[in-house]
């Protein structure tokens, strides 16, 4: 964590800022308007990267959880928690942007399309994860439970994916994209990746500081 700190503190905010500006510029100025769906389709350049980042977040939870269970490092545990929170933020962005898009295109705010269903269930799984952290209290025991949930959650994803796919029939596949659109999507993804890394880093720093403060406070109580 220490070796990564100078890079994360100095470079990541700038990188994220520049990438975000570039992404915004491309979404609003560069990329042509989609023929059928019109302007509202532009939300897709935020929607899809956000979905990817939420997946990345949830896989990070599983990885960090496994590392915590088998190596017992506190940082891995905090990293899992930070990743779950950041993943949840992106997951919420996915649902909101998806809703905004669905209203003019499909005529409804929400429908039980397989992907929507999938995202909604993932959202509840990781909401449960955070709830376990909050309700369970701050202890090794709960950290261990959360780690098990983080791992089981990711194991659940493939089978969940299959079943929601079968449940509602197969969704229309991705259409051919114009090169400008592909480029925009790529830049947006890069920007979101930077944002993801930065948020994760900030949250991790915050959580470890909080743990340190809690430890100091307990020590103060023990001494007095």
């Amino acid at each position: 964590m220490k070796t990564f700190a100078p890079f994360a503190d100095r470079v990541l905010p700038w990188l994220t800022g520049i990438a975000m500006l570039a992404a915004l510029g491309m979404v609003f100025l560069y990329v042509p308007t989609e023929r059928v769906q019109g302007v509202v389709q532009r939300v897709f350049y935020f929607h899809l990267p956000a979905a990817w980042m939420s997946f990345l977040g949830f896989f990070t939870v599983a990885g960090a959880s496994a590392s915590f269970l088998w190596q017992g490092s506190r940082t891995a545990d905090l990293c899992a928690q930070a990743a779950a929170e950041v993943g949840m933020v992106f997951c919420t962005v996915v649902i909101l942007t998806g809703s905004l898009w669905a209203r003019p295109i499909w005529g409804v705010w929400w429908t039980w399309d397989p992907r929507l269903t999938m995202v909604a269930i993932l959202w509840t799984i990781y909401a449960a994860y955070l709830l376990l952290r909050i309700l369970g209290g701050d202890s090794e025991q709960v950290a261990r439970y959360a780690a098990v949930l983080g791992i089981v959650g990711v194991l659940d994803i493939p089978i969940l994916y299959i079943s929601v796919r079968l449940w509602r029939g197969i969704h229309p596949k991705v259409e051919q994209m114009a090169p400008e659109m592909a480029w925009t999507l790529l830049v947006c993804t890069a920007a979101f990746l930077c944002l993801f890394a930065w948020l994760l880093w900030l949250r991790l720093c915050h959580l470890s500081l909080r743990a340190e403060v809690a430890a100091l406070r307990r020590r103060a109580v023990a001494v007095s």
């Binding site: 098990v148 089978i159 449940w167």
Partner: protein, 217 residues
């Protein structure tokens, strides 16, 4: 493992509280639905299938909680952990106990539900027990894992359903689909059975492997 299972059965025979409460709860849930829905809707196989599984899930949740609450009193679970078998065995025993109790309850509740819902008897119903058993296995596998955690946290009553239900979604979708196909006498839903089976295998193995991480403090 047999020692553990024997002990759970013995406890149940002594108190009878788990089976009795499960049975009554499952039946009440079915009745609530019967009163809440109009008779025409009740005859739809989709609704009957959903109803069967809702009753099973809530009764099952109670069963899981009981399974670990009896271990909490007088620190008994520590006594179990002291015994010379590994955590995976404890998992399998608790899992088997849950499958056993839930199956026994369903042996009574499922036929009663079918009668209440005026389901037409047909030969295709003969596979229903298999479907219910597969569902119970998957439910108990994942449930045992999370009930062991939930009972040892502060918010045990809230936490178990909150943790369990989202993760059970694939199982529930598959189970309801198969059941409604069976009730409707429709074509054999092979693909859904495979999903059920995959879920069962995946989470029995996961639970068996990861249980030691849950039980040791």
């Amino acid at each position: 493992m047999w020692a553990l299972l024997w002990k759970d059965i013995r406890l149940e025979l002594r108190t009878k509280e788990r089976m009795a409460s499960l049975f009554v709860l499952a039946l009440l849930i079915v009745l609530v639905f019967v009163f809440a829905l109009s008779p025409e809707r009740l005859r739809s196989p989709d609704v009957s299938a959903a109803l069967l599984w809702v009753a099973l899930v809530f009764a099952g949740m109670l069963s899981l909680q009981r399974a670990f609450l009896v271990e909490q009193e007088r620190g008994c679970f520590s006594g179990v952990l002291l015994c010379p078998f590994d955590a995976g065995t404890v998992f399998l025993a608790k899992f088997a106990g849950n499958v056993l109790f839930l199956t026994l309850v369903q042996v009574l509740v499922t036929p009663l539900t079918l009668v209440f819902l005026e389901v037409q008897l047909s030969w295709s119903l003969l596979v229903l027990p298999l479907v219910v058993l597969l569902g119970i296995i998957g439910f108990s596998a994942m449930g045992t894992l999370f009930a062991a955690m939930a009972v040892r946290t502060r918010a045990r009553e809230v936490l178990l359903p909150v943790l369990l239900l989202p993760l059970l979604t694939p199982l529930l979708i598959a189970a309801v689909k198969v059941t409604s196909a069976v009730l409707a006498g429709a074509a054999w839903p092979g693909v859904w059975l495979r999903v059920l089976l995959a879920f069962d295998v995946l989470f029995v193995i996961t639970g068996w492997l990861i249980f030691s991480q849950v039980v040791q403090e």
